[in-house]
Symmetry: C2
Subunit: 304 residues, 2 copies
Amino acid sequence: MTVLAVDIGGTKFAAAAVAPDGEMLARAEVPLRGPESAGRTLSEVVRRITERVAPGRLDGIGIGSAGPLDPRRGTVSPVNIPAWRDFPLVDALGETLPGRPVRLAGDAQCMALGEWWRGLTGDPAGRSRAMLGMVVSTGVGGGFVLDGVPYVGPTGNAGHIGHITVDPGGDPCPCGGVGCVETVASGPGMVRWAAANGWTGADARALAADARAGHPTAVHAFRRAAGALATAVLTASALFDLDHVVIGGGVAAAGPILFDPLRQAIERNTGLGFLRRLRVDPTSLGRDAGLFGAAALVLLQDSL
Amino acid sequence: MTVLAVDIGGTKFAAAAVAPDGEMLARAEVPLRGPESAGRTLSEVVRRITERVAPGRLDGIGIGSAGPLDPRRGTVSPVNIPAWRDFPLVDALGETLPGRPVRLAGDAQCMALGEWWRGLTGDPAGRSRAMLGMVVSTGVGGGFVLDGVPYVGPTGNAGHIGHITVDPGGDPCPCGGVGCVETVASGPGMVRWAAANGWTGADARALAADARAGHPTAVHAFRRAAGALATAVLTASALFDLDHVVIGGGVAAAGPILFDPLRQAIERNTGLGFLRRLRVDPTSLGRDAGLFGAAALVLLQDSL
């Protein structure tokens, strides 16, 4: 069984043909040009796979999508794609490959499942029993994998770790909450704080470069984000009894300037004995984690 | 099948004989007199059941215990019972009724399962798909029931909601963390804050009475606790996609002086659409929730 995996992001769509052993037989990525082009972009990215792997060889479709989404109805409403509101993505892709099973989950949920299946813990003997995958980027998202099964919750929305409050005295969040992780640790949140404190760079990438060069405000912005992420990681770990957290996304790609203070903050605040076994790692799969996870929704479905 | 349910608390032990339909055929409670008396108290509370329900009619033993505990090894180390450290509680009770299945979980995990089985959501048609039970008392504990199954995590410690940080600038917690829910919303935490702000009463019960009478510092102490609990409830709900939270314990028994500001704070900060369905209720079973849950560990074990 080979599966078509599709990853619907806010700025690009990716797709791959994935074999049961995890081999990617083909991979494609198409940037989203303008909010009205989502439908064309979807057709294009799928075509790039099917012109290399015959549709007859594809036995199912797994989809990871930016949210909100409704997995029961198979619809998605990605925040950054206004043209898609309750868009029937499962039906749309099902028409491309009629008669095959189609499964849909959130992008961060797929990232977590991909890491569980093919990442650092991919050695079946060493796989996590309770893991969190986080995507720290323009937003902050998360997904849980418990005993190898994605935990998506009754409405499919479990894992909204970007919108837990880590600073009750903090900034209001567009979600309606206050001091959410996303207000502090997302790229835009970090840049907003740095700009308010005199930093004059352009974006999160520039902020990371300045932090690496030792610019005090930039370093502080990463420490502040790391503190918020540490609180979020420890909170999720105390509630789920986690043993592994894997963090990906553009901000996480900044490397040690984020992970060093993050690990220090976790170390400093880990009091509960059962959390001392917790490991926190950057993604080992980069941007492919979500595609592997989308494929796993179908490939591992008998065990899910 | 009738089950012996045992609830190991920090100040008292309770036991009951529970029939499969949830009827309590007998119930007993024995206060713990001095830390060395735990063994005698255990024998006494079990004897009070077996002298009313013949041991031959008891087909299994379910235990809820104050933590920490290790469900895999069947041992408990309740913080308030220093004489029991890695005490083999499962073996000890198993010797009382040889050959019967014995199951052990945390006290708050049992409270949650009891509420799920016999509480407000006890109508099978209306049962929660993802619920949190919280015990707010001398400490703050929690347990999750997901699709009718207690989620205890790989080491049995899931649900430690008393030790998530809700105020990063708050007081250090004996657990090693900072600003944990328990430092703000437990009885001792509330009394400590009120005393530091000029209140001169004796304990949490007196604080509740003063709050009901309109004493400003006492009212503020409950509002502050409610704010911390609201953050914790919303955090757990965003991560688990919860639909129901049930709160019991001595502090929760204070009633509207806690629940009114708690519901207001939740209402004010609920932005995520999927959380609008969340219900938050006081326990409907009082102190029996834990006994019902302990019984359910055995009675529902085929479905768990």
